[in-house]
């Protein structure tokens, strides 16, 4: 119990102090709300504008979730393909890297032009950002099987399939879950960035569009409220994936083992 308190209390106190300071500065300096709204006003706006913001949040989260799902399925399949043949890995991996290092903001307009269906275009953008950590980590994990255990499987006449299911796949689990935690946040970022690009083109969708719209119409408190929603979603995604990782690994992996002292 005290362990939890010690982990949660410091950031909570620090955050609260920051918010109080922010509110005080805004009030004492008389900063107008269209430059910097105080946290109380942002909160009030979140409540009053819930009817507009909440459906947009759902749109953004749907794209994020779908992109993450596709990233997991495609990422794991590609990793498996990589471990089946060194030639495929050597041939394809550079392109996975190229896809990863190309700024999504730069290629999003193209994708949105090419793919007429806006949600699909957004999903593709978010997927491009999210899938690399999964491919890279899972590939590393699948290739990290203990050499002696591979020998042992060989000794007992294990088939390639058995080595894969009983040795490589469970061994890759911690790596995959590590990649998944990174990808969860990236999928959200990818979705929001793509929405921004689509939003400037006039397509209505998601929370990013609400931020753009609020900017155009000087509704700065609403902009902050939308931003708050995106941040909270990111934190929740991270916490959920961390919990999932802990749940899967708690019985055996060092990362999930509770230690005394």
């Amino acid at each position: 119990m005290s362990h939890v308190v010690r982990r949660v209390l410091p950031p909570l106190v620090l955050g609260a102090a920051g918010l109080v300071l922010w509110e005080l500065v805004v009030r004492l300096k008389g900063i107008p709300y269209y430059i910097l709204p105080g946290p109380l006003l942002v909160l009030r706006t979140l409540v009053t504008d819930w009817g507009t913001l909440y459906p947009s949040l759902l749109v953004t989260l749907a794209i994020t979730g779908a992109a993450l799902l596709v990233a997991v399925v495609a990422g794991v399949l590609i990793s498996i393909l990589f471990t089946q043949s060194k030639l495929i890995e050597l041939g394809l991996f550079p392109y996975a890297v190229i896809l990863q290092v190309t700024p999504i903001v730069a290629i999003a307009p193209l994708i949105i032009i090419w793919v007429k269906n806006i949600p699909l275009a957004l999903l593709i953008c978010a997927w491009i950002v999210a899938f690399f950590p999964i491919v890279s980590n899972t590939t590393l994990g699948l290739n990290s099987a203990d050499h002696n255990l591979v020998n042992l499987f060989q000794l007992y006449g294990a088939s390639r399939r058995q080595v894969f299911w009983h040795l490589r796949l469970p061994g890759a689990m911690p790596y995959f879950l590590g990649g998944l935690r990174i990808s969860g946040g990236l999928a959200l970022i990818g979705a929001v960035v793509a929405e921004f690009v689509a939003g400037t083109g006039g397509a209505q969708s998601g929370l990013a569009y609400r931020i753009l719209e609020s900017g155009y119409t000087m509704q700065i408190p609403r902009m902050f409220a939308a931003l708050l929603m995106i941040t909270c979603s990111g934190i929740l995604i991270f916490l959920a994936l961390t919990a999932l990782s802990h749940l899967v690994l708690r019985s055996w992996h060092e990362s999930a083992v509770e230690r005394e002292g």
Binding site: Y156, S251, W252, H253
Partner: protein, 252 residues
Amino acid sequence: MIARLHDVDKIYGNGVVAVRGLSLDVDEGEFLSLLGPSGCGKSTVLRLVAGLGEISGGRIEWPGGGGRPGLPQGDIGFVFQEPTLMPWATVSKNVLLPLKLRGTAAAEAAARTREAIGLVGLDGFEHAYPRQLSGGMKMRVSIARALVTRPRLLLMDEPFASLDEITRFKLDNDLRELWARQRWTVVFVTHSVYESVYLSTRIAVMTGRPGRLASEVKIDAPSPRDDAFRTSSLYNEYCRQVSARLAEATAA
């Protein structure tokens, strides 16, 4: 005789000659130790016998079971230097692995797993994960896994080298006692004179790299060996003799 190594060479891809012209018979029911300095190719020999890796020259014959490919897989158990357990699997699941890979029926596999865990004295730890076990207990799991197929030949590659001396003595005692009861054939790789004398019925002393057979010593001592044997004059005499042979082999 269970296996005969005939003029076996092993040259690795990088040109290192690990073993040259090694000839050695492994007799049914014996406890044979391969003793030699570090890097003399003892482990390589063991891996070749297990069929892990290609022989560069010579051959290994299996008089009982036909040619090497014809030897049933289950006839060999292998214990590595490290416990080499699957960290995500419980003790039970680790021990069960060889049977699972061979598709043994579930009921029989479960019974044999229980039996093997009992043999190494780990009753009650079936559902523990490797990280919850001490180094010695992990090694016991590894031995149980090697025994679960009821092998005719048990190959052990310095299994206790990384354990503390107290744990090591205990495991030596238990292994020796288990062998006396079950009478499989054991080939045990070690660089400890004392361990090899305590455990073995015969010791093959190897030279430094490239590994060859330097000499053999038969340990003609009573079968139930215990801590009293460790302090006996007979034990000391054998240790002195084997040490001298090892010194000769290393100098040559």
